[in-house]
Symmetry: D2
């Protein structure tokens, strides 16, 4: 399912993304990109450093959009497994996340993701396994 | 390092935990427990269901407290790897997280964690690998 | 499906287990135990130390038996995700592996596993996610 | 450390690789490639399909060579974490494995790996986290 820029813009305005400071930039053909301008509240306990669970949120979300971007209408996905490598402290926002689907099977989709800083240094990497489900999200179908 | 109930109470009052609705209940001898009364903002895109990245935040945090509870003063830990299994949708809060350290080596600590609902049904499970570092957190040393 | 001791004994006599030195001891009610008396060929490149991929083979196999032991006839399982923590070098055989299923859902089963030496020291830990499939293994149905 | 083709040729002639049917083709500048012509003994319980633990052995090994290829002399690496996604059944050998290091830090190295068949279809993907250690392998230093 193609996600138009206008739809993305609207979808980005949700309580979770606003809480963490996430903005999904694009999602099509099994790939997605997002940008994190972290809310200071999620930079704890190390000041100025994004919490690892928030990086997990960003990578899980960006992979899910990558998966979703290639699914037929009325299908959605839900995460089964998320494996994260924390490589460098996530300082110096904004941070940039990219995600790509590796392979779709009939009921599963496999993806991976990275978070980099503005200098292109890798901060975190992840693998995600998603189950494809029959579900319509209200905010998408509107 | 033993963490007194009073210290925990104070540590819980931080911007990250307040943002997600997390409260660490206890942390000693390589074990920790926490409770998540999720802020509605982190229950998205499925209403009433906690986002998987927030569950990652809860399990990562609770494992880190478990690790920390057995370290000597002036030592702290940072997550290297976090592997999560999402088993059931995380509805019906409050949710309860437990974490236990499996083994300490000289520079690493291995832990695992679970999140269950009030009925004891398991919703998510995780493994975490932590690097032991020399660091003092201001809020702990005060 | 209950697996009798006699059936297990027969199943253990297969090329893969003989190659690595694996023996499944028991499998019932979602739990399984195995013993590894490693063939010297799989202790490489560090002499006397089992290769990590062989530990993966042992934990994956033992978890699969744990999953299988609680499935109805004509069902089997196949691994989707395997996450391993290597904690200590796997020396001093024989090594003992235990596995337990955490939860069955309709199409998936989640499990975890550990390998310990004779002193009870933990050497490796794993999480596995299995897909439940309709399949009959010849050697089981005989 | 650069690994010459002649050295690789010699290193490949070891009991573990001979047992599974593994041949490391090249390893330099943080990248490595290998080929698996599986011994029938490791294709069990599904005839003609390589066991998932053997795929783990192949990806762990190929990542380790990628890591090793960029280390200074007298340094080596040991696996801390290995996270595997099993995407398609590993049939139709020979199978081809590639590995690339994502990032080196002072004490750790992060890598990822894939296994594909001759048609280029992806069968398995992995992330590995390696600890850099001071160690000399006899067979390398000779």
């Amino acid at each position: 399912m193609e996600i138009s820029g206008a739809a993305l813009q609207e979808l980005n305005n949700n309580p979770l993304y606003n809480t963490v400071g996430l903005h999904v930039e694009e999602a099509f053909d099994g790939k997605a990109k997002s940008c994190l301008t972290p809310n200071p509240n999620v930079c704890w306990p190390f000041p100025g450093q994004v919490h690892g669970g928030i990086l997990a949120t960003v990578m899980d979300t960006t992979m899910a959009w990558a998966v979703f971007s290639k699914l037929e209408q009325d299908l959605n996905c839900t995460t089964i497994n998320l494996d994260i490598q924390y490589i460098h402290p996530a300082k110096q926002p904004p941070l940039y996340c990219s995600a790509v689907t590796t392979q779709y099977t009939r009921r599963l989709c496999f993806a991976r993701s990275e978070i980099r800083n503005a200098d292109g240094q890798i901060l975190a990497a992840a693998q995600g396994t998603f189950r494809i489900i029959r579900a319509t999200l209200d905010f998408v179908s509107q």
